[in-house]
């Protein structure tokens, strides 16, 4: 039996207050969500409906038709660019053998003549003749110092002989570039 003489239970009021607070929070959340969903849906709908894509497509079509009149020149321009790209890389890679001959000739003294020369991509064979061994020696000294070291990876004396009849010394040198 209850010892309390009050007919109304105080705990019930507290429970009611709590339930009212929870209800208010739920109501706030539900109304807020409903509002957010509807507002965002309407905003996105309007943004999609008012998109500038149709006008942009029209603009693009007009611009494309304007550019179409220059199509021939565009093709010419692309052809020039394509050829020039190939030409540039080709010119950069090709070897100038004239330079090699010039270098070798520059190291020769007046009494040394070139008997034979073979110029290849990575090597040069040169056969020289002179009445003086000293001149041939001078040539070897000249190509094996300074610019010669930078230009050639290796310098090898292949043969050195004397042609008895002509009384000349013949030297064959191999130069690896």
């Amino acid at each position: 039996m209850s010892s309390n003489i009050n007919l109304l239970d105080f705990n019930t009021k507290v429970k009611q207050k709590k339930s009212f607070k929870g209800k208010r929070v739920l109501r706030f959340i539900s109304i807020g969500m409903l509002f957010t969903v509807s507002a965002s849906s309407i905003i996105f709908f309007l943004l999609i409906a008012l998109s500038p894509i149709p006008q942009l497509r029209k603009q693009k079509d007009i611009a494309s038709s304007n550019l179409a009149s220059s199509q021939e020149d565009i093709v010419k321009l692309s052809l020039v660019n394509e050829r020039i790209t190939s030409i540039k890389s080709f010119i950069a890679k090709r070897k100038n053998f004239g330079d090699e001959v010039n270098f070798i000739q520059g190291k020769l003294t007046s009494d040394v003549s070139i008997n034979a020369i073979i110029l290849q991509k990575e090597s040069v064979f040169v056969t020289l003749s002179s009445k003086s061994l000293l001149s041939l020696n001078e040539f070897i000294n000249k190509i094996s110092t300074g610019e010669g070291i930078e230009r050639f990876k290796s310098i090898k004396i292949k043969t050195i002989s004397k042609e008895e009849g002509k009384n000349v010394f013949v030297l064959t040198v191999s130069l690896e570039t």
Partner: protein, 245 residues
């Protein structure tokens, strides 16, 4: 046995009147609204958002394409057409689209005359695209030519330098000989026209200053062409020409 106390006691209307003043009624309504809102977010709002962003991206893309096309129009309207034709002609002469025998012969003859060497013999070797002489640049097709030149070492050297400054462009592969006669192996190249893939919304690349300078340089390498008919008609000019082949 029928458990209904009275007819329709489970009807929605009855349930509404029974629970409408109860706290559970309003709570259930709020929870239902929240659930429906969440469902709407996933089923409507997010797809709408995706749609909007894809449309936005598409419009940005279209705008940039329009800008590119407009830039291309401006570029093409400012281009000097006679100069472009000249540049194209020079580029094609330097790197022909097909085997340019007359160009090759003219280049060799012109170089021989200017260097003071005589060309004794020459032979062409052709290779198809799959040939072993295929150049490193896969689009270039080589034509190998062997020539025998006669002249002093200085003139031969001049020839080797000058041949590189003539168009069509040549590459000397090897040189073999003595001071009087040289056997020169050279390669000329041609590049067949490839299918030009033109897209209007791709920016057109202009000929830059370095390339224009290279084309100008190439145009100075043009060879004097030998007009056989004219030379036959004019006996004076034929008598003064240096015999080459």
């Amino acid at each position: 046995m029928n458990k209904n106390i009275f007819f329709g006691h489970n009807d929605l209307r009855f349930l509404y009147f029974r629970y409408k003043d109860s706290v559970y009624y309003s709570i259930s309504i709020f929870i239902t609204v929240i659930i429906v809102s969440v469902i709407l977010v996933f089923k409507v709002v997010i797809p709408q958002m995706d749609n909007y962003f894809s449309i936005h991206n598409e419009s940005l893309d279209l705008q940039s394409k329009i800008n590119t096309i407009n830039e291309n129009i401006t570029l093409m309207s400012n281009i000097d057409k006679p100069k472009l034709n000249q540049q194209l002609q020079t580029a094609i002469q330097a790197l022909p689209s097909d085997k340019d025998f007359s160009g090759i012969v003219n280049a060799i003859s012109d170089t021989a005359v200017s260097s003071g060497v005589s060309v004794e013999d020459f032979s062409f070797h052709f290779y198809n695209k799959q040939g072993k002489l295929q150049a490193k640049d896969s689009s270039l097709v080589p034509i190998e030519i062997s020539i025998i030149t006669n002249g002093s070492i200085n003139n031969q050297k001049k020839f080797l330098v000058s041949i590189l400054q003539k168009i069509p462009l040549a590459q000397v592969l090897s040189v073999d000989g003595d001071s009087g006669t040289l056997n020169i192996n050279m390669q000329y190249y041609y590049k067949p026209f490839s299918k030009t893939e033109y897209k209007e919304d791709k920016p057109i690349s202009q000929i830059n200053n370095a390339d224009a300078a290279l084309i100008n340089n190439l145009s100075t390498w043009k060879t004097r062409s030998f007009d056989i008919d004219n030379e036959n008609r004019n006996p004076e000019s034929s008598s003064s020409a240096t015999p080459l082949f």
